[in-house]
């Protein structure tokens, strides 16, 4: 179980990205975070694995305080919290295989990994991860030779290598077209069914309705809604996204 207590983040330039956000995520949930660009979704997700240090508040993973973890403990915690990104964040010049293997760095022998030497079982694990997202034939390609949807699948395979308990997905489909969006989210849904807790930020209401088990909404760094996906109707959506906002429908697939 993941619990956030009054998490705030003020950037050095004075921007208040998060303001006393608290919520709980039970194991096995598919929690979707919605909100305008700049509402603090990305900051919130990055505070959970401390890619961004929260200025205030506590975050507990199974009652262990992540915010108080030492660097070594933090790396161990990060191992169990995988992350996929809007821009995929692959090393473009490296092979797909190397990108996927890098997801295993938290477990790897530090010296051998620095030499780029991986045990056979890890290579097998990487192939299996690629098979799960259906691109095992691309293992030797350079990452930037793949299409956007394929790159995000590499990102998911990299996350799988961590054998995570939680998967943070920061707008994983915002750079993809609607068809690919569904295919990527279906992979996440599948992982969710296998017991991985998913915390995912999304923009499209129909995707929220389709995949979320629970939703929280952020506005100007504050939590303005927490509840089930079906509770979000047009009125609620307008409240979160502002009066002028029109719901843009992702293709109805």
């Amino acid at each position: 179980m993941l619990r956030l207590e009054n998490v705030s983040k003020v950037y050095p330039n004075g921007t208040k990205a998060l303001n006393k956000v608290s919520f709980e995520v039970a194991d096995g949930e598919f929690l979707v975070v919605i909100g305008l660009s700049g509402s603090g979704k990305s900051t919130l997700l990055r505070c959970i694995n401390r890619l961004i240090e929260p200025t205030e508040g506590k975050i507990y993973l199974n009652e262990i305080d992540i915010t108080a973890a030492s660097p070594a403990e933090l790396r161990r915690i990060r191992r169990s919290i995988a992350m996929v990104f809007q821009q995929f964040n692959l090393v473009k010049r490296s092979s797909v295989m190397n990108n996927v293997l890098s997801g295993r760095l938290g477990y790897a022998n530090p010296w051998l990994s620095l030499l780029g030497i991986w045990p056979e079982e890890e290579k097998q694990r990487a192939i299996k991860a690629l098979e799960r997202v259906g691109i095992e034939d691309k293992a030797d390609n350079r990452a930037d030779a793949l299409s956007g949807g394929q790159q995000q699948r590499v990102g998911i395979a990299r996350a799988l290598m961590q054998e995570p308990k939680i998967l943070l997905a920061d707008e994983p489909v915002a750079s993809l077209d609607p068809v690919l969006s569904h295919s990527i989210l279906q992979y996440l849904e599948q992982l969710n069914k296998e017991g991985i807790t998913i915390i995912c930020s999304l923009h499209f209401l129909d995707l929220v309705h389709r995949y979320a088990t629970r939703v929280i909404a952020l506005k100007d760094g504050e939590k303005v809604f927490e509840g089930e996906a079906k509770e979000i109707d047009r009125a609620k959506f307008k409240e979160i996204y502002g009066e002028e906002a029109q719901e843009i429908r992702a293709a109805t697939l």
Partner: protein, 459 residues
């Protein structure tokens, strides 16, 4: 159009001060541009001092009045084609004379005398075997003269007499040579210098052997034979050499050709060493010159500014100039060239590397950090894959540039092909010069091709 302007006033203003009329009609930039243009043109013509060219600024002045009147009349000026064409004409004509373009000095015969030997680059020659013989003679006659005879490998040479004074006639007889062949005969004084025994420019006498391989020739003891002899009373003997050479099939590098190959190896090596030295310094410096790494606090920002400024200054000095300084410091030779190229390359590479570092994508770093990787692992998996290929590409590109520069640096004593080229030009060996030109072209083209291919794969 707001407010009516008087065409007469506009024209008058432009007559008094070019551009003033345009300014008056509201076309301020046009007015200023016309004023500046007219002043520059008038200044140039006056500086050049040729009266007939004064017509150009006058044309521009008249056009300017016409333009101002038109602007006031119909709100639209005249095409600027006329003053621009007039200005260009003046610039072209004056430029022609300033740079002293003059084809009457051209001498086609001189050009041909240089270019013709260049058609036969001195790179390779037919392989030959040599047949050589010598005999000693004393000049002038003292005690214990040499025998005047020499026998060697079935060849026999006799000089009569076995001692003689300067200018006295001697007879040389040699047998056992290859028959029916041109044979060179020359005189060497005790210090090993050739002395002239033939009329004309060559110091050698050419004699043809008879059917039995014998030659007989008569020549005077060279008048210059004793110039390099410190004390004629204890002079060691002089030597008279004969030499034949004949092709034995196949080809080999000529002497100059061999030097060209050596020079080429030195030039490429200079470029390689300069680049390697530059890498060692440029990599750490580039981190100090990367804006994204150094903008954190005021101290690093100051370091960044200082490093950037130094690099920019260093980069703006041609390696040729740096080479002249290093030739003074470490002496003539490739080492001075290497240091000059290295210094220039450090500045150039550090700038390019720092731009690579500035352009690094933070996404992968974030992603690898999120996997629980340690700092060295993050550098190894997220930073190095991003910077090594472009670093390598820029480095190879630099090596390529350095090969070109190495030949230029050689001109001022930096060694390699450039140095050889200057030496060959000095002794007017145009066949050798041609060989150097060709090898420079081949090396530069090859480097260009190879580096382009490698960079293609890396980027």
């Amino acid at each position: 159009m707001k407010g009516k302007r008087s065409p007469f006033l506009a024209g008058l203003l432009s007559l008094v001060l070019p551009g003033a009329g345009q300014f008056y009609t509201g076309q301020r930039y046009r007015g200023v541009a016309i004023l500046l243009g007219t002043l520059v043109m008038a200044g140039t013509v006056v500086w050049y001092g040729e009266r007939s060219w004064y017509v150009i600024p006058v044309i521009i002045l008249l056009w300017n009045i016409w333009d101002a009147v038109s602007l006031a009349n119909r709100g639209r000026g005249r095409a600027i084609l006329i003053p621009v064409a007039a200005g260009l004409l003046a610039a072209y004509a004056i430029g022609w004379q300033v740079v002293q373009i003059d084809f009457s000095n051209a001498d086609m015969n001189r050009a041909i005398s240089i270019l013709r030997p260049m058609l036969r680059p001195d790179f390779i020659q037919k392989r030959t075997e040599k047949n050589e013989m010598w005999v000693e003679i004393q000049v002038p006659c003292l005690q214990n003269p040499p025998t005047g005879q020499n026998e060697l490998n079935g060849k026999k040479a006799i000089i009569i007499p076995n001692c003689a004074g300067v200018g006295e006639t001697v007879i040389l007889q040699v047998s056992g040579l290859w028959p029916g062949m041109e044979t060179s005969v020359w005189w060497e004084d005790p210090s090993g210098q050739d002395k002239m025994i033939a009329p004309g420019e060559s110091s050698m006498l050419i004699v043809t052997t008879d059917d039995e391989g014998k030659l007989t020739t008569v020549f005077p003891v060279p008048t210059t034979a004793l110039i390099a002899v410190p004390d004629v009373n204890i002079s060691p003997p002089h030597r008279i050499y004969v030499r034949q050479s004949r092709p034995i099939g196949g080809i080999e590098f000529s002497f100059v050709g061999g030097e060209v190959v050596k020079g080429a190896v030195i030039t490429v090596g200079m470029a390689l060493m300069a680049t390697l030295i530059a890498i060692i310094f440029a990599v750490p410096i580039s981190f100090l010159a990367a804006h994204n790494l150094m903008s954190g606090n005021p101290v690093t920002q100051v370091i960044y500014l200082i490093v950037r400024t130094l690099l920019n200054i260093l980069r703006s000095i041609e390696s040729l100039i740096i080479a002249i300084v290093f030739v003074v410091i470490v002496g003539l030779g490739p080492f001075a060239g290497v240091l000059a190229l290295a210094l220039h390359s450090i500045a150039a590479l550090a700038k390019l590397y720092s731009e690579v570092i500035e352009g690094i994508d933070p996404g992968p770093i974030e992603a690898i950090r999120a996997t629980g990787a340690t700092w060295p692992q993050i550098v190894r998996f997220a930073v190095i894959p991003q910077i090594v290929p472009p670093f390598t590409a820029f480095t190879i590109y630099r090596w390529d540039i350095n090969v070109r520069s190495a030949t230029i640096v050689g001109f001022v004593g930096g060694g390699g092909l450039g140095f050889l080229l200057i030496e060959l030009i000095r002794i007017n060996d145009m066949r050798g010069v041609s060989a150097v030109f060709i090898s420079i072209a081949v090396i530069v083209m090859a480097m260009d091709y190879i580096s382009a291919k490698i960079r293609e794969r890396l980027i």
